[in-house]
């Protein structure tokens, strides 16, 4: 078996979570890499939507931006930016919204706006919302891919840019959101899933060679662990080859 990095394991685990034929609204960066890997391996009919207006893109190489020409050239349909949000995302046509995050909390709320200090006088100003608030609200479910560190995995995000489960079970329903919200958080250490009762993110899976103590140390809250904790199957040679070809 080939050696692999923790980022490769994370990307492979994320790719595996995408079912063939699903419609996936893809953020740039890690989500795009994982979605394209899925398309190159077990899910050739995965439909990729990018917020630049490309529906069914089939890029041969990884796009560096959300608006690379290859996304337009290989799309089944190319539409304007208002249409992609209004006709395609908003009505709940998308199965999976695939997002990253700068900061994430125990109820899977996402912060990509400001860290520390006040909104008007922040310690760190992040890029902001982009398409994420409505992706998190409207997709049937949301997958996240985030490197797990105690700085990123916090008890409570400094700013809710995009809603996960708010303060816990029932919040999404009370707010009238149609999508089910985050179902998977894939990290470089393993996979977290919301507890079916409380919606609190719970470690349900560890990647090979990762111990629970590390996962706990790299989580900014008292991390709960599933009683059925499983170990991720390591990347296969085929998965690694496809990923490395994609990234080349």
């Amino acid at each position: 078996m080939t050696d692999y990095t923790s980022d490769e394991m994370m990307t492979v685990a994320a790719a595996r979570a995408l079912e063939n034929g699903a419609v996936c609204f893809v953020g740039i960066g890690l989500p795009s890499t994982a979605a394209n890997l899925a398309r190159r391996t077990h899910a050739p009919d995965l439909v990729l939507i990018y917020e630049s207006g490309t529906i069914g893109s089939k890029p041969g190489t990884l796009p560096l931006s959300i608006g690379d020409g290859v996304l337009a050239e290989t799309a089944d349909s190319l539409v304007g930016v208002p249409e992609i949000f209004n006709y395609w995302l908003q009505p709940g046509r998308v199965d999976v919204g695939f997002l990253g995050a700068a900061q994430l909390d125990r109820f899977a709320n996402i912060n990509t706006t400001v860290i520390g200090g006040d909104y008007r006088d922040p310690k760190v100003r992040l890029p902001g919302a982009g398409g994420a608030p409505e992706i998190a609200a409207s997709c049937r479910e949301v997958f996240m891919i985030v490197r797990q560190t105690a700085r990123a995995f916090v008890e409570r995000v400094d700013f809710v840019t995009s809603l996960g489960f708010g303060t816990g079970a029932g919040d999404r329903e009370r707010l009238g959101l149609r999508g089910a919200g985050p179902r998977l958080v894939i990290t470089d250490l393993g996979v977290l899933r919301p507890d079916p009762r409380t919606c609190e993110l719970t470690m349900t899976q560890l990647h090979p060679g990762v111990d629970l103590a590390t996962a706990k140390a790299r989580t900014g809250w008292d991390l709960k662990v599933s009683s059925d904790l499983v170990t991720t199957a390591p990347p296969t040679d085929a998965e690694l080859a496809a990923l490395r070809e994609l990234a080349a």
Binding site: G67, G80, P82, R125, A129, G131, E134
Partner: protein
């Protein structure tokens, strides 16, 4: 009918001090050359509007042209942060920058409302987030038929809009294709508009996926080949990803940015 004019003249006619102005283009077709001309002409107190204020607005902000930014995602795509944007927000350098922040869906619908001559747009958006707490421009609205509560955002009326396109004909009809973003909406939302183009041609041959803006909704057209660099013009150029990478170092401190700025003027 659009006037075909040199870039410097067109910019001076279209973009004025104090304007609410959008330079649009979603990764593709970003009107960088027109932005640099605005820097050269020393425009001030601009309210800069853009869904994705990337390197072009980092440059305008660093050059001191802006007093306010209305946006939904401010980063260097695929690279990281915008250092001039951060320096303005965190340290007020070179001048303080007021922010009005939205989501992409909200911004896109604000453009649509303005292009449609409506005072507001309705969407399923922002619900449960902290964004509505930071601006008066996100409000609830109730459906008069179902009673359901949705979100309203005001129309984004612009004084001026600047975009880049592949082609115009000699009458000033404009054609763009590939990822077309919100450029049509931005032009239709603006009182004055400027389109820089790769080339002016005799005849606009139909192209798959092309948006055509008729001459009578465009004020100025300027022929600026490569005017989207380091962004790209589909079928004319490719994105200069190296420049976006290099911008990280150029913009990181005020001195290296100053050197870059001196080269523009």
């Amino acid at each position: 009918m659009a006037t075909i004019a040199p870039l410097a003249q067109a910019v001076s006619e279209v973009v004025r001090d104090g304007d609410t102005v959008a330079f649009e283009g979603f990764t593709h077709l970003i009107p960088f050359a027109a932005g640099h001309e605005v820097i050269r002409q020393g425009r001030r107190d601009l309210t800069l509007v853009r869904m994705t204020p990337d390197v072009i607005y980092d440059q305008l902000i660093g050059a001191g042209c802006a007093k306010k930014l209305v946006f939904s995602w401010g980063g260097n795509p695929g690279v990281g942060s915008l250092h001039r944007f951060r320096d303005a927000v965190q340290n007020g350098w070179p001048v303080p920058l007021e922010l009005e922040e939205h989501s992409h869906a909200g911004m896109a619908n604000r453009y649509v409302a303005a292009a449609s001559g409506l005072p507001f747009a309705v969407l399923r958006g922002y619900v449960g987030t902290d964004l509505p707490k930071q601006t008066d421009n996100i409000k609830p609205i109730t459906c008069p038929f179902t009673g359901e509560v949705l979100t309203a955002v005001p129309a984004l009326r612009l004084d001026s809009a600047v975009i880049h396109a592949q082609r115009a004909d000699r009458k000033g009809n404009v054609q763009l294709w590939g990822i077309t973003g919100v450029q049509k909406e931005a032009v239709l939302a603006a009182t004055r508009s400027l389109v820089t183009v790769e080339e002016v041609v005799d005849e606009l041959e139909p192209r798959p996926g092309a948006v055509v803006l008729p001459s009578w909704v465009v004020d100025f057209v300027a022929e600026v080949p490569g005017g989207a660099h380091p962004s790209y013009a589909h079928d004319y150029s490719v994105r200069d990803n190296d420049f976006y990478q290099r911008w990280d170092a150029i913009s990181k401190d005020r001195e290296s940015f100053g050197a870059w700025l001196a080269g523009v003027a």
